[in-house]
Symmetry: C2
Subunit: 335 residues, 2 copies
């Protein structure tokens, strides 16, 4: 009962396996009558196509691999959600991997997905060295960088302009009167973080001010709380008047520390701005101003572009960059 093959269907319907294949795939003209017979047999026997066999024979697979930095991070959850939507319309399966920002685990997933002969790879790399991905791509598996620019590597990408986003954040802070902002984020080895910092620092310098870096080990609420505690324990003279966090989770953590351990008012004594604009940003203790990234769109576009490149078998690499959008709420001073 478990294993019904095309052969079984064929003999049941009194036709050849080739004909069954044609019916199943609509690949060739089959008379109305035989089609009916075959479909009946399929129904009665409960036949289900074997993806492994068809992939083996045809050489084409029907799945994509997605490797994110942290599946439980709402930003990446949204990316996955968007990717899934696009896979859905293309009839593809999505294999999910979670590297935990660990290059070794990322590499393990890449190997695993290579064995599955995925049709394409969507990955947010953990490290700076993209040569493994490059080599995979050059061997014929399309690779799309998600939320990460290729740098010198010959890879396609879908990103959001992090430099512009960082600039936006500082622009807003400065317009609100900040003269002593700081940046919270890390590790700085993540280009997303480095770029946001770079954009922000440039804008700060244009205003003639520095942007001290408070590096965090991760991009989580807890890590944010740790940095927050460092900030609030600073001597008053050194205390910033605004904090730009590399993501909303950090911002939430900083906000928690500020509220739990100080009497500082947000935004009057300390403005806070985050990044991503996750759904909860609206609902934080003080509603969070944030730089919005179109996470779902990122995932969807990554898949669509991958598929399009696949189709046209284009050799040229394509970089798509979205522009983030500032969403102003109460955690920063109005301009």
């Amino acid at each position: 009962m478990a294993k019904v093959s095309m052969r079984d269907v064929a003999s049941r319907a009194g036709v050849s396996v080739g004909t069954v294949s044609h019916v199943v795939n609509g690949s060739s003209k089959v008379s109305e009558a035989t089609m009916l017979k075959v479909n009946d047999a399929i129904e009665e026997l409960g036949f289900v196509r074997n993806a492994a066999a068809r992939q083996l024979r045809s050489g084409r697979s029907s799945s994509l691999g997605l490797v994110v930095l942290d599946a439980s991070n709402p930003f990446f959850a949204s990316v996955a959600h968007g990717a899934l939507e696009a896979c859905d319309v293309a009839g593809l399966s999505l294999l999910l991997g979670d590297s935990g920002t660990d290059e070794a685990r990322e590499s393990k997933y890449l190997d695993l997905f290579a064995e599955q002969r995925v049709n394409g790879l969507l990955v947010t790399p953990s490290g700076a060295d993209l040569s493994k991905l490059e080599s995979i791509a050059s061997k014929g598996t399309p690779v799309m960088l998600v939320d990460r620019a290729p740098g010198d590597f010959a890879l396609s990408s879908v990103t959001v302009d992090n430099v512009a986003g960082g600039r936006m954040a500082l622009d807003h802070l400065i317009a609100g009167g900040s003269s002593a902002p700081i940046f919270v984020g890390g590790p700085l080895s993540l280009p997303q973080v480095a770029d946001r910092y770079a954009g922000a620092r440039d804008r700060a310098r244009e205003a003639g001010i520095e942007l001290p870096l408070f590096e965090s080990s991760e991009m989580t609420i807890l890590a944010g709380r740790d940095v927050g505690e460092r900030i609030v324990s600073l001597p008053e003279a050194q205390r910033p008047d605004a904090v730009f966090c590399a993501n909303d989770l950090l911002a939430v953590g900083v906000m928690q520390a500020v509220i739990m351990f100080t009497e500082l008012r947000i935004p009057d004594d300390l403005a806070i701005i985050g990044y991503d604009d996750i759904d909860y940003a609206l609902s934080t203790i003080v509603p969070l101003t944030s730089v919005r990234q179109p996470a779902g769109l990122l995932g969807r576009t990554a898949v669509e572009t991958l598929l399009a490149e696949n189709e046209s078998s284009a050799t040229a690499h394509c970089d798509q960059m979205f522009t983030p959008e500032l969403v102003i709420r109460e955690s920063t001073r109005p301009v």
Copy 2:
């Protein structure tokens, strides 16, 4: 360069394909010398096992399918994260599906995964009729219900006790002095919601009070805000003194409405309690009291149990139920 098979490796190493297979899988004793030769050949040729071929031949697949209600919901993101961890140690791939609480889409994923001959299915069903899953299970593919009890269906499950959770919530509200609580959640066709409501209502009745139902169409922040607006526009005499929300997202939405449109103080005028205890519950405008569910553990346990059942080829079904835990914060009155 793209396609290197065992045959290529075999001829390169001057051995037979069988031997290569043994080296690759460690399935049989191979002399040190040949092993070295083979591994060299693999390295030089860049050979990668073909999962489709090995699955076809061996009959075993190396992937699991997970179908959740909403991949971008942090609860399910955490479930996926946990499932991924367990898959990782078992060397399995995870196929992700997102039904959007739509039975047709769920069914599509089930079919897709059936074609892939997944080793097992983890699913949070969208509808009441689990017969399709039951039939899949009876055909030999292990199925684990995640966050959903099997009811009369012959299926294994990993759940969190929703009735107990609902009771806990009301227990706490009543202990805090509430005499006019309401329940917000929906659709009620979701057993998770119905059970939480049932547990809560029972507890309310024991205290001699009713628990009016404010049904929501979804379990999102936006839906919560809608219900919240309904609540705050109630004539004062009918206004509840406490709101139990079927998940934290709804609670956050209700809280937003209350704060935006009224002067009501939380928890003094209106207590709010949520469900799930997502990371952000700690960081809401008023930190949210919530009934915590071990989401990651749920996913991990689901995979582990599935694998264990698979191994022992047990026919008996197994229901594992975790007990949720009340996490008290400022959105409710202390007892």
